[in-house]
Structures are given as structure tokens and as C-alpha cells.
Symmetry: C2
Subunit: 272 residues, 2 copies
Amino acid sequence: MIVIKVGGSEGIDLRALCMDIAVLIQEGQQLVLVHGGSARTNQVAAQLGHPPQFVTSVSGYTSRRTDRETLRIFEMVYCGEVNKGIVEMLQAVGVNAVGLSGIDGRLLEGKRKETIKIVDGTGRRMVLRDDYTGTVEHVNTALLNLLLANGYLPVITPPAISEAGEAINVDGDRAAAFIAASLKADKLIILSNVPGLLRDFPDEASLITRIDPAHIGEFMEHAQGRMRIKVLGAMEAIEQGVAQVIFADGRIAQPVHAALAGRGTVIGAKPL
Amino acid sequence: MIVIKVGGSEGIDLRALCMDIAVLIQEGQQLVLVHGGSARTNQVAAQLGHPPQFVTSVSGYTSRRTDRETLRIFEMVYCGEVNKGIVEMLQAVGVNAVGLSGIDGRLLEGKRKETIKIVDGTGRRMVLRDDYTGTVEHVNTALLNLLLANGYLPVITPPAISEAGEAINVDGDRAAAFIAASLKADKLIILSNVPGLLRDFPDEASLITRIDPAHIGEFMEHAQGRMRIKVLGAMEAIEQGVAQVIFADGRIAQPVHAALAGRGTVIGAKPL
């Protein structure tokens, strides 16, 4: 079992990914796809007069400020435009995809953070209370296995759902890591618009090709911006028993085959 | 088995519907929910600078002009905002809903119309070729039964999918009729923002309370605008073996229980 996470950043070739997935399925691979939609959400939110805001937690992670109106737009883009766009592309190449958000069937359950402690641009600490964000703590693997056993490819997107039944924005990379661990997947492949983890971002020649899982924490210093949370997700996946996490390039042809051949940053055992 | 269709018009109380569904499920009813999202699509399309257009076919039915950009917005609203909004409301009242578009798992398969013959405001006939609309011709009942058998409530929305794997806009009422017939449902309840079929629209006192299925065609003359296609859907459901179709009020508390008690326009056998 391989869990593939694909970001929503510009440059990512979703059509190439869908064609690659069709080949992998013909080769007998069991797959689950998780996707984001951050860049498009920014555009649509601006168009709808509710421009995106980002906050930085006191521990240094950046996340989207998610009030109820942002959540509505988030669902339009992630669950509507992006999810159905990917499902349609997969169907067009013969993959019987089923798109699901974390709300559907309580697929991704988590705890809503009652408050978020953030640091503003001037270093001042603030507490947000009307934010709908959280972290995935439980995956409905029964629903995923039901679909997989019946020949469907699950295509999963945030938001998740809280115990109280509220939609909550969760990080897609960490959600994918949690899904991979819950499904006891062998591999988690995280595709973005860079070739992997870079020693000197954005110099693509500085690609880190291998990381010993025992030393992954030391590599956090090389992670910039959004890549920090991807490294956190990778650490969480490895800690929970996923043998291999690969950060790989989502802009190229056959991106999953390339990742499986060792192109990218491979964390864990040697590539196939 | 009851298939419930709820429109996306203003005034419809989705929260009351979701609470009613929770009670029906506790009472042991097997349900499938189908929804629209037309009014919100009009608003969002206007906000995004791609205002809605409607066309009238030569046979007199009104439908949304669906170019590729409209389809993108349509999916944002129907599959994102509205579908996930309803699924979240159902989850909050303890119903384990799973939202699906017709693309997911090829749930609603249909034929894309190669051309659409329309009549413009001056009576002139025109042919549209870049439209993505069609009619449902096959329902993946295996997927619906799989979810129902495992305790999930399917919440279904257009678009459907063509044989070539393209998303196509299909009428929600006729899709619901086809789903009801395919699932061999006993009843199809169509909730909108009127009490049922009105003899003199919009006079709500002119409600037609019973229609003999053998004479449903004669009632088409009373149907105005969007109600015409609802009557067409009802005819199709009855022809395909659904025993009872009820047009009922989606603005009231316990709308499904009210419909089952005979409030609305009942087509077919006597109400329970």
C-alpha cells in the first residue's frame, strides 16, 4: 500500500500524476491519494472578497487562519473544484476514483483546537478563539478498506471533522502521514513543486537525497516555510511505522514511478 | 427505501431536514438524499465574474448554460459548499453521511448532449456545441448499496459523468427520479420552497393534493418554470416503478414526516 500526497501549489502536473496512478494500478499497486488546494483557495478567497490570512504558531509553524467563512471557501475549493477535478481526471484515464473529505463517513476525525497561540509580525503573542483548525487523531480505515476492496481509489481531502461534528481545517501532509500509518502503508510519497528537501532552499541542486530516519529531526533546520510541516508529517509517519517517506517532484512526468525509483528525498529504507 | 431530493432554493430549511432525517433513520428507514445548489451557484458565479445564463430548449425546459468554466463553479458549489455543508449538518445530528457526486465511482453515468437546440428570447433557434449537459442513464447502485449496508447515508449531488469521463451537468430532480427507480425505492420525495404542485402558481392555496399517476401528464400545464422538470422527473420515476412521488414543502419543520403524512402533492398510491 502506498499513500500519495499531492500539494495544490502551482507547477504541479495533476494530469501526469493521474496517468501515473492509472499505470500503478495496472501494475497491481494498492493506492490512496490525498490532496491539498491551498494556492487555489488563496485565489478564490481573494476573488470572493475574503482574502487569505496566515498565522504562525509559537512553535514556528505557519497555517491558514480559518474562520467559518474561510472554511466555507476552503470546502468549495478543496472538496469541490480540486477534489472533483482530480476524480474526473482519474476517471478519464480509467481509474474508478471516489472523492471523500474528512467529514464524509467521519473519515478523518480530530480535535478542534480551542485556542491557537500565534505570534504576529512584530513578535507579539496573541490567542485566537474563533478558528476551526485541528489535528487528525483517528482515520476511518474501515471505510477506506471497504472502497479499496471493491475496486475504488479513495481521493481524500481536508477538512476533517471534530468530535462535535464541526468541519476543521487540518494540515494535508500530516493528515496523509496519519492515513499512511493507520492503513499500515509501506510508503508515503509527498509530491510538491520542488524536487524534495533542499539543503539551501530554493537551490534545487542542494537536494538532500537520503535521510536516516534516526536523524530526521536534525534536518528540520533545512526545511523552509511549508516544508517544515512536511518534515513534521514525515517524522510522524516514520514514528508510527511507515517504512519509507519520499519527498518528490510533482511537476514531472510519472512522478510516483520517479519517486519509487529513488528520485527525491528518501527517508527510511533503501528505495525499491 | 425512500429517496429524498432537496432543492437549493432560498427558504429551504436544510437544518430541519437533517434533523428529520436523523429521526427517520432512528425509526429504521433506509434513505438516500439527493440535493441541488442552483441558487448558490448563481450567486457565486456572479461573484466570480462568470454570471449564470439559462437557456430554454425547443421542448420548453429551462436549464443552466454549462460551459467548462460554469462546470468548475458548479462543482465548487454543489460538491464543495452545499454537499459538505449538508454532510456536516447530518454528522452534527449523528447521521453518518457520505457525500458523493455523480463523478465519484461513476455513480451517475449519462450521455453528454453533443448539441443543444435552444430558443432565444426572440424565438430564434440556436445550436450550442460547447455545453456540458446530459441525462443520467445508469446509476452505480452497487456503490450505494455498499454504503447503505455499512451504515452510511449517501448524500448525492450532480454533476454526472459521461462515458468519456467528462463531468456533465444533469438535472437534480430527474437524477433523483432515476436513482429512486434504480434502487427500487418505494417513494421519492421532492422538497422545494413551495408546498407542492400549485394549480395557480404562486398561489399556495391552489395546491393540488393528489394526482392519479395515469393522469400526471395532464398536470404538466400547471407546472411553471423549474416545476416543469420536477413533474417530468416524477413521471419518469412512476413509469420506472416508483410507487409514490410526493412534492412537498422544504421550508417547514419535519419536512419528510409531513410529506409522508400526505402534506403536499401526492402522486401514486395513498400516503402511509
